[in-house]
């Protein structure tokens, strides 16, 4: 399986990454993808609040290892020809891409399932943390979501 994993501050080029994923392999019939973007507000307890920027911290070295392990686990469950995972770190503005997951397979169900699996496990096991900067200059760490733990747990039940 062709694997590309990157943790970087720079933006990525979606068209280039997709072309690179499937180039020259005519056994690929389906490419599923997920693109995560910085949203302009987030739920804090009962309140929505606007945010100004988002900073992503990570555990260098462990992030790459964790992403490789997640991708390998996906490749054991589904027939995949190629996977790309790119996760950005550092300070990001509203609307900027945070994460890209691309999965390529002969058929669409495998591509969709693997893409969701990688995102769900990444959300609970890859050591990234988000810190929001508010328009008034204040900062706060984002809390983990219970719904993310539940999304990851469903793959263990199957």
């Amino acid at each position: 399986m062709k694997t590309r994993i990157a943790v970087q501050t720079e933006p990525f080029d979606l068209a280039e990454e997709t072309a690179r994923l499937s180039a020259g392999d005519v056994t690929i019939g389906a490419v599923a993808s997920f693109l995560g973007l910085v949203r302009g507000h987030n739920r804090v307890g009962e309140d929505d609040a606007d945010i100004a920027t988002l900073t992503l911290e990570h555990y260098p070295g462990m992030t790459e290892k964790a992403l490789h392990r997640i991708v390998d686990a996906a490749a054991e469950r589904w027939p995949l020809q190629a996977v790309t995972v790119i996760h950005r770190v550092g300070e990001l503005r509203l609307g900027e891409p945070i994460v890209l997951v691309l999965t390529a397979s002969a058929h669409r169900q495998a591509a969709f399932d693997a893409c969701q699996f990688i995102m769900d496990i990444l959300k609970t096991e890859a050591p990234f943390w988000k810190k929001e900067r508010l328009p008034d200059g204040g900062e706060r760490w984002v809390d983990a979501r219970e719904s993310d733990s539940e999304a990851a747990a469903r793959w263990l039940r199957d």
């Binding site: 555990y59 070295g61 964790a66 996760h87 990444l122 959300k123 890859a126 943390w129 983990a144």
Partner: protein
């Protein structure tokens, strides 16, 4: 000697990003208890949910520690 790293909210609360421990207990769980017993912010910080890694792999309290290990403590992750 082991290297201990703290990340994100946990690091901010403790005011420490990294330390080296010349002596260390035999397991990850015992190390966590030892750190929580330091008093001040440490007890409170470790009373929250804290994830643990040894040599950059997620690890549980039974995981043995050995000379040269890198240990990471951090809050639940929020990437993606």
């Amino acid at each position: 000697m082991i290297r201990v790293l703290y990340f994100a909210r946990l690091r901010d609360r403790l005011g420490v990003a990294e330390e080296q421990l010349e002596t260390f207990p035999p397991t990850l769980g015992a190390l966590r208890e030892q750190l929580a017993a330091r008093g001040g912010d440490w007890g409170e910080a470790f009373s929250d949910r804290v994830l643990m890694a040894v040599n950059q792999e997620m690890a549980g309290p039974e995981t043995p520690l050995a000379d040269g290990d890198e240990v990471g403590f951090f809050p639940p992750v929020t990437g993606g």
